[in-house]
C-alpha cells in the first residue's frame, strides 16, 4: 500500500486551484474545462509559494477506510465549521475537477516521470549504448515484446538519459533519429531518411541509390575524423519486412561495416525476428543483442497503477478493485494500456452511479420541497452528504471510492464479447436460423448451402408450429446474419447455392438461448439444442478467458 508522503506541497497547489475556480464561478456550477495551459502553468509555480487557504476534507493518510483519521479531523473541524457554505460549493467543484485529475493521471498519453518495473531492461540497453558510444563502435540491438509492455516509453527515457550522460562525460553528443516504420511509403525510404539526417540534404549525386551511398560511406575511412555517432531508433520494425527481406538485412548489415557510426535499436513484437530474418548476421558474428520486454505480471501492474495514482493526494480506488483489475489483465494479455483503460472506465461507472443517485435525490427533494430549488441537483446531493463530513469523514471518503463492483462492471464491458447479448436480442426467425445451423452442423459437416439450411429451418418450424418465412426472406435474413458476423456466406450466382458456415461457437448460441425465457412455443425447438454440460463449458470458458 502506498504511504502518502508529505502531501502538504501538493495540497497547497490543489487548494489554490480550487480556490481560484470557486472564486470565479460563484453560484453557477458548469463543468469547467481543464485547459492544458492551466496545468502547464501550475507546474511552473513553486510549490511553497502560498500557504494553505482551505483544507480539503477529502484527504486520507491511510488507505483503509476504517481507520480513524485523528490529527486532521480535529484541526479541520474547527476550520470547516466556521466556513460551512463555501465548503459545500467548493466540494462539488473539487469533486468534478478531482475526477478529471484522476482520469488524466490514468490516461495512456500521460507519460509518467519515472518508468517503474522496467529498470532491468533499461539498464541493459543503456549499458549497451554507453559501451558503444565510449568505444565509438557501431552496434545493433533488438527490443521485442507484446504490445503495451512499455517498449517505446522506455526508449524515450533511454534517449534522454543517453544524451545527458554523453554531455556529462564529455563525449560527443550523438545524433538522434527516431523513425516509425509505418510512416514509410516505400521500405527503402529509410535509407534516404538516414542520409538526410547525416548530410542534411535529400538529393544525392548520380546513380547511386541511398543504400549504396551509405555502404560506400562506411567502407572507407572518414576524411573528417571525429564525425558524430548516430543513434537510430526504428519503431515497428516488422513493417520493413518484404518478401526478399532485403531492406531489413541491409539495415542491420550497415552496422557491420568497419567504419560505420550507427547504434541501431529496432523495436518490434516478434521475439524471433532476429533469428528468422537475419540469419546471415550470425555468420558474421554480429547478431543484434536481444532485449525482451516480458508481459506485465499482476504485481507489476498494481505497482505501476499505484505509482500513477500516488501523485494525487487522495485515494480513489479501493485496493481490492486495483487487484481485481491487475489480475484479470495479467491473465489476459499483460497489456498496460488495457489496465489503464479499464481503470478509467471504472471511474466513469462510479461517476454515472453518483449522478444517477444525485438526480434521484433531487426528484425526491423536489417532492419534499425542503431544499433550495435553485442549486444544481448534484450540489443538493453533496449538500446532504456534507452533514456526514463533520461527523464521519471516513464515510464521505468511502462514497467516492471506486469499489470492486464498479471494477467488475468495467471489466465485463471490456472483456465480454457482445455475441451473447446480440443473440438474445435477435428476432425470432433469425434465432431459429442459428438453431437450425447448429443442429445441421452437429451431424459432422462444417459447411452447407443456403438451400440445405432452409430445409433444416423448415423442419424446426414445422415441429414447433411456427409458420416459416419464404426463401426470399430467408436468404435476406442470412445476409443480415452475415453482416453481423454470426454466419459466413460465400459467393455464388444463385442464392440457394451460397455456402454457409457458422462463425461463432456453438456453445455461445446454446448458452444465449437457454438462459433466455420465452413463451412455450419455443420449448419444442429448444429441445433440439439444449444439453446439460453446455452451461459448465461456457462457465469454464469465462474462467479461462479471465
Amino acid at each position: 500500500m502506498p504511504a502518502i508522503a508529505s502531501h502538504d506541497s501538493i495540497l497547497a497547489i490543489k487548494s489554490e486551484k480550487s480556490g481560484e475556480i470557486a472564486r470565479s464561478n460563484g453560484d453557477s456550477t458548469p463543468q469547467k474545462r481543464r485547459l492544458r495551459s492551466d496545468a502547464a502553468a501550475e507546474q511552473n509555480k513553486s510549490p511553497t509559494s502560498t500557504p494553505m487557504k482551505w483544507t480539503s476534507p477529502r484527504r486520507s493518510l491511510n488507505s483503509s477506510p476504517n481507520t480513524p483519521i485523528n490529527g486532521i479531523e480535529k484541526s479541520s473541524d474547527e476550520k470547516l465549521v466556521t466556513r460551512k457554505s463555501p465548503v459545500k460549493k467548493r466540494l462539488f467543484e473539487s469533486y468534478v475537477e478531482q475526477m478529471s485529475a484522476v482520469k488524466e493521471a490514468l490516461h495512456v498519453s500521460t507519460a509518467p516521470s519515472t518508468v517503474v518495473c522496467r529498470e532491468e531492461e533499461q539498464k541493459r540497453v543503456l549499458e549497451f549504448c554507453k559501451k558503444h558510444l565510449e568505444q565509438e563502435k557501431a552496434g545493433s540491438l533488438y527490443v521485442c515484446g507484446c504490445p503495451g509492455t512499455g517498449k517505446s516509453l522506455s526508449m524515450d527515457k533511454i534517449k534522454q538519459h543517453l544524451l545527458d550522460w554523453a554531455k556529462e562525460e564529455g563525449f560527443q553528443v550523438p545524433d538522434l533519429l527516431a523513425i516509425n516504420c509505418t510512416s514509410l511509403t516505400n521500405t527503402s525510404e529509410i535509407f534516404s531518411k538516414i542520409i538526410f539526417k547525416i548530410q542534411g540534404r535529400k538529393k544525392i549525386n548520380g546513380s547511386t541509390s541511398p543504400l549504396q551511398h551509405l555502404q560506400n560511406l562506411y567502407s572507407q575511412k572518414q576524411q573528417s575524423s571525429g564525425s558524430k555517432m548516430m543513434l537510430i531508433v526504428a519503431d515497428e520494425l516488422d513493417y520493413l519486412i518484404t518478401r526478399d527481406r532485403a531492406v531489413l538485412h541491409d539495415l542491420f548489415m550497415l552496422t557491420t561495416f568497419s567504419f560505420s557510426r550507427f547504434i541501431l535499436i529496432g523495436i518490434a513484437n516478434a521475439i524471433d525476428l532476429a533469428d528468422r530474418f537475419l540469419p546471415r548476421l550470425q555468420s558474421l558474428n554480429c547478431k543484434p543483442l536481444v532485449v525482451t520486454f516480458r508481459a506485465y505480471s499482476k504485481d507489476q501492474i498494481i505497482r505501476i497503477l499505484q505509482e500513477r495514482l500516488m501523485a494525487l493526494p487522495y485515494i480513489v480506488f479501493q485496493p481490492q478493485a486495483l487487484e481485481l483489475c491487475a489480475r484479470k489483465v495479467a491473465a489476459a494479455s499483460g497489456d498496460m494500456r488495457k489496465a489503464l483503460s479499464v481503470c478509467r472506465s471504472a471511474i466513469e461507472v462510479l461517476d454515472a452511479e453518483l449522478r444517477e443517485s444525485a438526480s434521484k435525490i433531487n426528484s425526491t427533494s423536489v417532492e419534499k420541497g425542503s431544499f433550495d430549488q435553485q442549486a444544481a441537483p448534484a450540489l443538493e446531493f453533496f449538500n446532504s452528504q456534507a452533514n456526514y463530513i463533520f461527523g464521519a469523514i471516513r464515510l464521505h471518503i468511502y462514497l467516492f471510492l471506486v469499489r470492486v463492483d464498479h471494477m467488475a462492471v468495467a471489466l465485463s464491458n471490456t472483456f465480454k464479447s457482445p455475441v451473447v447479448d446480440t443473440i438474445q436480442s435477435l428476432p425470432q426467425h433469425q434465432q431459429i436460423i442459428l438453431c437450425s445451423a447448429v443442429k445441421f452442423f452437429r451431424r459432422g459437416k462444417k459447411d452447407t448451402t443456403v438451400g440445405e439450411l432452409n430445409k433444416s429451418y423448415m423442419e424446426i418450424c414445422k415441429t414447433s408450429l411456427i409458420p416459416p418465412v419464404g426463401i426470399l426472406e430467408f436468404s435476406s435474413m442470412c445476409r443480415v446474419l452475415n453482416d453481423q458476423g454470426l454466419l459466413k456466406l460465400g459467393q455464388s450466382r444463385e442464392d440457394k447455392l451460397k455456402r454457409v458456415t457458422l462463425k461463432i461457437d456453438e456453445s455461445d448460441i446454446t448458452f444465449a438461448l437457454q438462459v433466455w425465457i420465452k413463451p412455450s412455443k419455443f420449448s419444442a425447438f429448444m429441445e433440439f439444442v439444449s444439453f446439460g454440460t453446455v452451461f459448465n463449458n461456457f462457465a469454464l470458458k469465462l474462467e479461462i478467458n479471465g
Binding site: 490516461h107 498519453s109 504490445p147 511509403t185 513484437n269 449522478r355 435477435l426 419464404g470 426463401i471 453482416d483
Partner: protein
C-alpha cells in the same frame, strides 16, 4: 369530399414527414440516462472538456440507428461547444485505401480551417499535415472527432490508417476522439494486435427496442401534436383512435409477426410508412385495416405469385418435371417431359391432353417467367426441345402453390403427394 379532407391530408403529410426523419424517431429512445445516446454524449463531451483522447466503437445490425444517434449527439455538441469541435467523416467503402483516406482527411481539415488544399500533395505530405494539425488543434484546445463508418472495411490490409490515427491519440499533444461505426460484432477482433492494444475497447451495442420501448415509440410517432395547425378536436379524436388501435391484441399480433424476421427500427418504419399511406382520406383516421393491408406487401413470395398466374397445362409441365427430378433423372429436356406427360395421361386418363406444339408454347412461357431454366450456358444452336432444363422453384413451394390455386385438378395434387 368531407369537411375534414384538408386536415386529413395535412395529418398524412405530417406523419410521413416524421417517418422519414431519423432525428424525430430516435429522440424518445434517447431520453433515458441509460440509453446509448446519453452514454455516447457523456463520453465525447467529457473528452472535450477534459482534453483527453478517447476511442469508441458503435456496433449493431443495419438499420438500428447508429448513425442517427451519432448525428444527434454531434448536433447537440456542436451547439454546446460551437468553436471547439471539428468533425471529420470517413467511410470504409470509399476510403479504405490508406492513400485515399489520408488525402480525404487532409482535404476535410483544409475545408474546416479555410486552408488551400493541393491535389498534388503526396502521402507523406498529407500525413505530416495531419500530425501537424492534430498538434495545433491540441494547443488551441480544439477537439477533432474522427467518424469512421463501415469500420470493419478499414481493418483490411495493413491497417496503416487505423494505426497512425490511434497512435497519434497516444501522445499528449493531440486532442481527438475516434468513433468507429460497424455492423460486425467482432469488428475489434479484426484489428491487428498493435492496433487493438491502442484502441480503448469501449463498445456501445445497439440492440433492437424491447416491447415497452416499442409501444412508446409507436405512440410517439403516430400521435398528432396538439399545438400544430390542425384543428384541435380532430387531433384529439385521431389520437384517441390511435390509442385504441395500439391497445388492440390483433395489432400487437400483426406487429409481432412483422418484426419476427427483422426487428430493427428501420424495418418497422418502412412498415409504418406503408400503413400510414393507406389512410382513408375521407374519414381522416387510421384504422386497423390499414395495418392489415400493409402486411402482405412485405411478405411477398414472388414464385408463388407466378404459380397463381399459370395455366393448367403449365402446372402439368411443372409437376412432370418434379416427378422426373424425384426419379433421379439429373438432366432431362422437353422431350422427356413430354414422355412423362404422355405416361400420366395414359395411366390416369385425364382430359387435359394437348398437342405437342401447344405444350411447347406453354414450356416457353415457363422459361420466360423463370420458373424453369436451361442448365447449359452454351448450345444456342440446339433447338429448345433438346436442351437440358431444371426447375427453379422448390417442391415445397410448388406444392404450396398448387394447394392455393383456384381450380387445381385433383390429379396434380395426388401426383405431388406421391
Amino acid at each position: 369530399m368531407g369537411r375534414k379532407n384538408p386536415a386529413s391530408q395535412k395529418a398524412l403529410n405530417l406523419l410521413r414527414n416524421r417517418l422519414c426523419n431519423p432525428n424525430f424517431i430516435f429522440k424518445p429512445l434517447s431520453d433515458s440516462p441509460d440509453s446509448n445516446y446519453s452514454k455516447l454524449k457523456f463520453l465525447v463531451s467529457s473528452s472535450v472538456t477534459e482534453a483527453c483522447n478517447n476511442s469508441i466503437l458503435l456496433l449493431g445490425p443495419r438499420g438500428s440507428g447508429k448513425i442517427a444517434v451519432l448525428e444527434l449527439v454531434l448536433g447537440d455538441l456542436l451547439l454546446e461547444y460551437p468553436d471547439t469541435l471539428s468533425v471529420i467523416m470517413l467511410n470504409g467503402l470509399l476510403h479504405s485505401d490508406d492513400n485515399c483516406a489520408i488525402k480525404e482527411i487532409a482535404r476535410q481539415l483544409c475545408m474546416e480551417h479555410n486552408l488551400m488544399f493541393s491535389k498534388m500533395a503526396s502521402f507523406d505530405d498529407n500525413s505530416q499535415f495531419m500530425i501537424a494539425m492534430l498538434r495545433e488543434c491540441g494547443l488551441a484546445h480544439k477537439t477533432i472527432i474522427f467518424v469512421l463508418k463501415e469500420f470493419d472495411l478499414f481493418a483490411q490490409g495493413k491497417q496503416r490508417l487505423l494505426y497512425s490515427l490511434l497512435d497519434a491519440m497516444q501522445s499528449v499533444t493531440s486532442q481527438a476522439v475516434v468513433i468507429g461505426v460497424s455492423c460486425r460484432l467482432d469488428a475489434d477482433q479484426l484489428l491487428e494486435k498493435r492496433v487493438r492494444s491502442r484502441f480503448s475497447h469501449r463498445k456501445l451495442l445497439f440492440l433492437p427496442p424491447c416491447k415497452e420501448e416499442l409501444q412508446r415509440l409507436l405512440e410517439h410517432i403516430l400521435s398528432l401534436p396538439m399545438d400544430s395547425s390542425l384543428p384541435r378536436d380532430y387531433a384529439v379524436e385521431f389520437n384517441g383512435k390511435i390509442k385504441n388501435i395500439l391497445a388492440d391484441e390483433r395489432f400487437k399480433e400483426i406487429i409481432n409477426t412483422y418484426l419476427n424476421s427483422d426487428s430493427t427500427v428501420n424495418h418497422l418504419l418502412r412498415f409504418l410508412f406503408q400503413a400510414v399511406s393507406y389512410m382513408d382520406l375521407e374519414s381522416g383516421f387510421l384504422s386497423l385495416e390499414n395495418f392489415k393491408t400493409a402486411l402482405p406487401n412485405f411478405q411477398r413470395q414472388p414464385k408463388l405469385e407466378s404459380i397463381k398466374d399459370c395455366s393448367i397445362l403449365e402446372l402439368y409441365i411443372l409437376v412432370c418435371m418434379k416427378r422426373l427430378e424425384v426419379k433421379e433423372q439429373n438432366s432431362y429436356n422437353f422431350n422427356s417431359v413430354m414422355k412423362e406427360y404422355k405416361s400420366i395421361h395414359d395411366s390416369f386418363k385425364t382430359s387435359d391432353y394437348y398437342a405437342r406444339s401447344v405444350c411447347l408454347r406453354a414450356f416457353e412461357h415457363l422459361l420466360q417467367r423463370e420458373l424453369i431454366c436451361f442448365t447449359d450456358n452454351r448450345g444456342y444452336s440446339h433447338l429448345v426441345e433438346f436442351r437440358p432444363v431444371k426447375l427453379l422453384i422448390s417442391y415445397v413451394e410448388l406444392h404450396h402453390g398448387l394447394k392455393s390455386y383456384r381450380s387445381c385438378p385433383a390429379i396434380l395434387l395426388k401426383l405431388m403427394e406421391r
